[in-house]
């Protein structure tokens, strides 16, 4: 008995020493003005390296994306590798990839806000920006992949003399409506919490920046009534955007599940795509946080190992959920007994492009499961950077398996085919990556990337109280 008590006493202080509450941003407050200055400095500091990257990425957008796309519009979709029976290739794969990436911005921000997860505070905006720019990159693809992009507006319900409307039975029209809704609502959701920070920036700048922030801050003064309405609006949006987020990727999955292609026609696709989207998106948030922490001034104060740790746990859970749905797809197909589906799924693992399937499993299951359970790895930012990049490689491979590799082996073996991505497709896919990075890089110096008021609010609510000799972290409930 006595020995046990001794053991407990021996272990406890050691644990405490490891978990110093001041490692957490919320328990490591700084004066408000100092923090404002830090964020302003991070926003206005530009190095030579920054400009080189910005120009290089701008050129990448111009040449890789718009150059290749323009050439394709002038000559025809034939410069891409699609061929019968694989009519959708890298364009649709990359489309689903970007829409998936755009998911976690809202997921991290809205769901963690609704559930009052305090660690979200410093990086909600970084995540929301990822949503907006991921959508901007992804929403180009429904246009890029069209055979006749110059008449794309026929897919939009607009009044016209011939009374022709789009076909509301087509998943592509649902897609268009869902993505537009998501883009609009997530942009508003990005903008609302930005208003007080823009006002903060307005009061601390001169010249062109002042003019822009003055316009965007909407005359924010910080009165009690303004805060009350802002909180209410953010709360409404945080709740309302969650179903929108779930619907968007479900609808993207319906592009496939509604079709009668063997291997697509599955009711599991909705949740399967959502879990995959959140997995790839949360991974992308970690990747971005690593880059921000290492390149922007003062960001090592805001983005800490605790954030990598928390997001790493989230990633592990979603990797397991993804594996569950992946397994389920096979289980249900086996139970359904459709020979064509069985054929397709077998060929994924044994066909000419089986390496894509194995890449997917290694990057999405093996790597996260073998590494993310380990606290030391989760708390090592560069390791998390590599792991999350690999997860996104795996998710790209997943979409590649689902689209061209499934289309290539349908019910009639005479019509089987393989598909080779061509330079135009690779160039456009890289071009949208450049577009995403370019927009993010530009925005990082134009708007405060850390929601300062949210961090300050959180720090005010968190205090360390002295109870006897121990310091006890305590949190005050802020919103109701």
């Amino acid at each position: 008995m006595a020995a046990e008590t001794n053991l407990l006493q021996a272990v406890k202080p050691a644990e405490h020493a490891e978990e110093d509450p001041r490692e957490h941003l919320m328990f490591d407050p700084r004066p408000r003005e100092e923090m404002n200055r830090m964020v302003m400095e991070a926003m206005t500091t530009t190095t030579r390296r920054y400009w080189i990257w910005l120009i290089a990425l701008g050129l990448g957008v111009a040449v890789l994306l718009f150059g290749a796309w323009g050439n394709m519009i002038l000559t025809g979709i034939g410069v891409a590798g699609v061929r019968r029976p694989i009519f959708w290739g890298v364009f649709i794969v990359t489309f689903v990839f970007w829409i998936g990436i755009s998911h976690a911005g809202t997921f991290v921000s809205a769901i963690l806000r609704v559930f009052k997860a305090e660690f979200r505070r410093p990086f909600t905006r970084a995540a929301e920006l990822m949503t907006t720019f991921g959508l901007a990159a992804g929403a180009l693809y429904p246009l890029i992949h069209l055979g006749r992009v110059w008449v794309f507006y026929w897919m939009i319900p607009y009044p016209n003399a011939r009374w022709l409307w789009p076909n509301f039975r087509s998943p592509l029209v649902w897609d268009f409506l869902a993505i537009t809704t998501y883009l609009l609502s997530s942009t508003i959701y990005l903008y609302l919490p930005l208003v007080p920070d823009l006002a903060m920036a307005r009061d601390r700048t001169k010249g062109w920046r002042h003019t822009i922030y003055k316009l965007l801050a909407l005359g924010w003064r910080g009165t009690e009534a303004e805060w009350y309405r802002l909180r209410k609006a953010i709360n409404i949006f945080a709740f309302a955007i969650i179903p929108v987020m779930f619907s968007v990727h479900t609808i993207v999955s319906w592009d496939f599940a509604v079709g009668m292609v063997a291997g697509w026609h599955s009711t599991i696709f909705g949740p399967y795509f959502i879990v995959g989207a959140i997995l790839s998106g949360v991974a992308a948030v970690v990747t971005i946080l690593f880059v921000l922490r290492n390149t922007m001034k003062h960001f090592d104060y805001f983005i800490r190992v605790e954030h990598f740790d928390a997001l790493g746990k989230l990633l592990l859970v979603f990797s397991m959920a993804w594996a569950y749905f992946f397994f389920n797809e096979y289980l249900l197909s086996w139970y359904g007994g459709d020979a064509a589906v069985k054929q397709v799924l077998t060929l994924h693992a044994t066909g000419p492009a089986a390496w894509v399937w194995y890449t997917m499993l290694i990057c999405n299951v093996a790597i996260p499961w073998l590494t993310l359970w380990n606290k030391t790895i989760r708390r090592t930012p560069w390791a998390m950077f590599i792991i999350t990049l690999l997860i996104n490689v795996g998710m790209y491979a997943e979409r590649y398996t689902i689209i061209p590799l499934t289309l290539g082996h349908q019910r009639s073996p005479f019509d089987w085919g393989v598909y080779n991505p061509q330079w135009t497709e690779i160039s456009i896919a890289l071009g949208t990556l450049c577009l995403f990075m370019f927009l993010y890089l530009a925005a990082s110096r134009l708007i405060p990337l850390v929601p300062v008021w949210e961090v300050q609010e959180g720090q005010m609510a968190h205090t360390l109280r002295k109870v006897g000799k121990a310091e006890v972290p305590s949190v005050t409930e802020l919103e109701e």
Partner: protein, 238 residues
């Protein structure tokens, strides 16, 4: 207005016992429907445009092998998978002919219909295909020439159906059985293809379709194809 008649259901019967695999149907189809030649490289990559293609399979063990053929064209499904997925109504069902129409001018080129067709009967114009000088004089004025970026497919030579119906109406009579023939049927030297009104039980196509050898492609998908195949390679010839 005249009394509304029940629409004629056009259908095709393919007797595989008679098919010799000569591909005359494919050539006739290309001529009739202004199907462009895409060039050697493109065909090698799998982009040859055929509204009608001949599935070939080898039966038996080497050296005792025999070829078997199965010409596949758009099956003009009664419950067509290509129709609901098109966002702009470029793939629609025609009330009058009971076939699937491809509206080339409306197509924006999402290619969803082609993915969703279990018969892979739909073709895509990857480029603008130019015809060399004397060849452009053969173009059929009744059929739209498609530009790049649109889908196209077999229409049962709808231009011939319309012309036949108009001719009969002008002469004040019903369309006779066998009067309307798509190009492939007309060109088939072995008489393996028979076209007619399958809603009329007396038509030659209906009579032929009532056969023990009858089957339809991927019947289990409930697409209700209008094309009926008669199994080949049995003891009655082939």
């Amino acid at each position: 207005m005249a009394e509304q008649k029940a629409p004629q259901k056009w259908g095709l019967v393919v007797d595989l016992d008679r098919c010799t695999g000569c591909n005359a149907c494919i050539a006739a189809c290309s001529m009739e429907n202004n199907i462009p030649f895409v060039g050697e490289d493109e065909v090698a990559y799998g982009r040859g445009l055929y509204w009608l293609y001949n599935k070939r399979e080898w039966r038996g063990e080497y050296p005792e092998i025999k070829p078997a053929f199965e010409p596949v064209m758009c099956q003009q499904c009664g419950n067509a998978p290509c129709e609901p997925v098109c966002p702009v109504f470029a793939s629609v069902h025609s009330e009058e002919e009971q076939i699937n129409l491809a509206v080339y001018n409306r197509c924006v080129g999402t290619r969803y219909c082609a993915n969703n067709c279990p018969y892979h009967a739909r073709q895509f114009n990857y480029f603008d295909y130019e015809l060399p000088e004397p060849m452009n004089s053969y173009l059929n004025p009744d059929v739209t020439v498609r530009r790049r970026g649109v889908m196209e497919k077999c229409t049962f030579c709808v231009q011939r159906i319309v012309r036949g119906r108009q001719k009969a109406a002008a002469e004040g009579r019903e369309v006779e059985d066998g009067e309307i023939q798509p190009a492939c049927v007309q060109a088939c030297p072995a008489g393996a293809l028979v076209f007619g009104d399958v809603s009329n039980p007396e038509s030659k196509a209906s009579q032929m379709a009532r056969n023990q050898r009858r089957y339809q492609l991927l019947e289990e998908l409930s697409t209700l194809p209008r094309v009926t195949y008669l199994k080949g390679g049995g003891r009655y010839g082939g």
